[in-house]
Amino acid sequence: MLKKKLLRTMKLYRAQFISMIIMTALGIGVFTGFNMEWYTIERDVDSFFEETGFADFRIISETGFSEEECRAVGEIDGVGATSRYLSVNAVVKDGTDVVAVTVSENPAVSGFAVSSGGEYDPESSDGLWLSDRYADENGISCGDTLELTYKNLSFKGRVAGLVKASEYLICVPDPTQLMPDYSSYGFAYVSPAMLEKIMGQGFFTQINVISDMDKADFAEAVKDKLGKTYMIVSKDDTISYSEAMGESEEGKTMAAILPVLFLAIAVLTMVTTMHRLTATEKTQIGTLKSLGFKDRRITLHYVSYAVMIGLVGTALGIGIGFLLGWYIMNPSGAMGTYIDMPDWTLHTPTFVWIVIAAVNVLLILIGYLSVKSMLKGTAADALRPYTPKKMRKIFAERFSFWDKLGFGTKWNFRDVVRHKARTFMTLFGIIGCTVIVFSALGIQDTLDSFVDLFYSGAINYETKINLDADSATPDDAEEIAEKYSGDLEMTLSVQLDGEAVGIEVYDIRRGLIRFIDENEKYVGLTDDGAYVCERIADKFSVGVGDEIVFSPFGTDDEYTVKIAGKVRSLTESVVMTRAAAEDAGIPFSPNVIYTADTDIAQDVRIVNTQTKYNIMDSFDTFMELMVVMVWLLIIAAVILGVVVLYNLGVMSYTERYREMATLKVIGFKDGKIGRLLIGQNMWLTLVGSVLGIPAAIGILKYLVKALASEYEMELAVAPSTYIISIALTFGVSLLVGLMVSRKNKKIDMVEALKGRE
């Protein structure tokens, strides 16, 4: 019999039940989905790295390594496998596309996975194993021939297979480009045999190593074996590994804030709803008790409501979670463009299941405690209807302005104070809605202003010309710079406190590159010393006025430079002017020229060119990913707002049903009563938004710091974000108010005002 009651009661309170289920499902869904995102990246990247032998260390020498040297490194205790490796940027004939031609002597290290076509053949003299993404974007298929040019070498290759490689997990030509752009940049593996055919000899600038050793120990061991200090790039310093793990870290941060907010709201809504339900059913609880039902049986009955909500909510929630996970981690979506790996199997961290179980236990506990408080005492006690707290004068009534307030204001004011839990929950829902919308839009604003600052303000060139270090002398660089009215740059890798750091030395003549200080102002560099970015300053604990000492790899030269100031940088480097570098004794030998020209003639001294358009285009994809997230969050926020406010609105409506019936009998029109109800919502919404905006700014600051530290972004919020988030919150509140107040018309005055015992 009680089972029938269970179902009928659920039908009676369907608004509450449905909203509780939606809240639980949304909470669990967002929680599961977000945690799935970072965990899937971690797991799938890991297994891809394992499968294709992503190197832990790369020993780098521009002059190349011999077979003996590679063997010697392989003999180091703690080194698993080694391979001589080469990656050079070659230009596709009759175009500007760049393909990184890659050779790995030992395919078990820094190898690739074939997605279609033939397996790798180390003896092949013309086979190309081309990036499947690049092939796809450019309409290339197996069997096609590709003609490539590297420096003064031209060669043809036949596409033997389409592949993915862990070394190119995030396939960008350099760190200034945030997102891969497969239409213009890809990679292709060739066999050592083909390399020999092209170059006449095997030439490898890297030894890639698989090893669990600590970087410092490894560097020491290499120095012992090879008798020289080499630049060593560990896994953590590669774009592929660090960006993928960064993405996973960002996911963790996101998963730690917003989904928890959803879960918290779900649980709190459960508290108010279960209390409300058992309070309304108090006389029924008393009736059951007086009929002779044991407390245990009655408790079980009411607890089963919580169980039902938990079960249905959890089932839906896990479904939403997988859907969300699949949507974000979709291999053909934005994330799939960013991270290029073959397997996108979704993985869920174990603790997610534990949290889901805990939420269910919590729901049951809430149900148990709610009915327990109604069951207290004798059957006669339980039979007495639940009486809300006696009305007392509220604080505001001590002031004279109180008497001047209209009846509606007083009514709403006292109602808000009387039902504190409901008011608190309403505020919580409104604040939640404002915070999520504001944060989502704020992140977008921050990115927009960042793009504007760097790509529209700091980058004024059209083309970046990369010179060939071997054939281009400083005089050649001067000549090319003059020809294209360019600015010059020298980049070099140096060792600073044992770490590899990039140095950028600029000779700015035409203002094609500008620098940004900590306050987002464009500044000119002085010749007084070097400029560091915030990350370098943090990493090496140095500040303005300190001196840093570094030495270029492969030399014993040491240079000392004073830090003259701070600039923001995308690439985490030390920046200085040509004059400052020459003062410190560093010879200026430029390898990059920036120009406003777009038409660059073929020249053996030029390795390749990159256009600003390439870089901007990649940023658009990055922004698309953000826009998807922003929309998902806004939709979730609106659902959250509507569900929470509707649930509470219906609760308030039920609680004040009799009062509204009285007003109606006295002669208040439906519209006027509706306006009173909506008025309360509007006031709470006002308070909620006023509290929500500063909360959102706090969360945003944290998010920007946690999510975008690698780009040194500053929080920027556009006025439209304030307007949209407040307007949307008010819109949601008004919509729910209208939905609830529409019910006014259904108030049965006669029924409602019949006598009560």
Partner: protein, 233 residues
């Protein structure tokens, strides 16, 4: 002069596929300024009569005229206006707003009634001027009912409708409340209709309407009704 005219009024409720006639073609005329009691057993149709007269419900057939105005075909909002301007209600379960003070409960009607009377005067008339700042939950049942009478009269309505006004009170308190009701109605010249199954109340009425099975069984007038204190409660 008749203030209320019921002409062939019927009210049918449909429950499932079953039709139930709560009122079956009744005719009734009430004179202005009189104290009328409607008597009848449970389910006789007396509350339906009161609801139709109060504009809480509309008849399925027939016309109801109040003060020369047909109220049987009004829209929802027009009915609300009618309730605001013409009728005052007193219920068995007082129905005060718990979050408003005594004074505010009475003052409430100023929001909607065009000719509302002075709040404090009404509270004085029911003898509760000292409780003006209390909340309903701080008053006894009889006091709460007197507040609801003050509220009903503060609108300055033509008719005062009371559904078992003493039903929830003990007989002594009931007598006090009835006395307040009658004396106020007389001094303000209001028509009062009381629905009850308490035969004693009939003794103090100017007219007694007996209802049974949805029809009017009798309508007797009493030229010299008893005073509240003469009746054995």
């Amino acid at each position: 002069m008749n203030i209320v005219e019921f002409k062939n009024v019927s009210r049918t409720y449909t429950v499932g596929d079953h039709e139930q006639k709560a009122l079956d073609g009744i005719d009734l005329s009430l004179e202005k300024g009189k104290f009328i009691v409607v008597l009848g057993p449970s389910g006789a149709g007396k509350s339906t009569l009161l609801n139709l007269l109060g504009g809480l419900d509309s008849p399925t057939e027939g016309t109801i005229t109040v003060n020369g105005k047909d109220i049987s075909k009004l829209s929802r909002d027009e009915l609300a206006e009618y309730r605001a301007g013409y009728v005052g209600f007193v219920f068995q379960s007082y129905n005060l707003i718990p979050t408003l003070t005594v004074r505010e409960n009475v003052e409430l009607v100023r929001e909607i009634a065009p000719d509302a009377l002075d709040t404090m005067k009404m509270l004085e008339a029911v003898g509760l001027e000292d409780h003006a700042k209390k909340f309903p939950s701080e008053l006894s049942g009889g006091e709460q009912q007197r507040v609801s009478i003050a509220r009903a009269l503060a609108k300055n309505p033509e008719i005062l409708l009371c559904d078992e006004p003493t039903g929830a009170l003990d007989s002594e308190t009931g007598a006090v409340v009835l006395n307040v009701l009658i004396s106020m109605a007389k001094s303000y010249g209001k028509t009062v209709v009381v629905v009850t199954h308490n035969q004693n109340i009939a003794k103090i009425a100017d007219g007694v309407v007996r209802v049974k099975n949805g029809k009017i069984k009798s309508f007797e007038t009493q030229d010299s009704p008893a005073s509240v204190w003469e009746v054995e409660w």
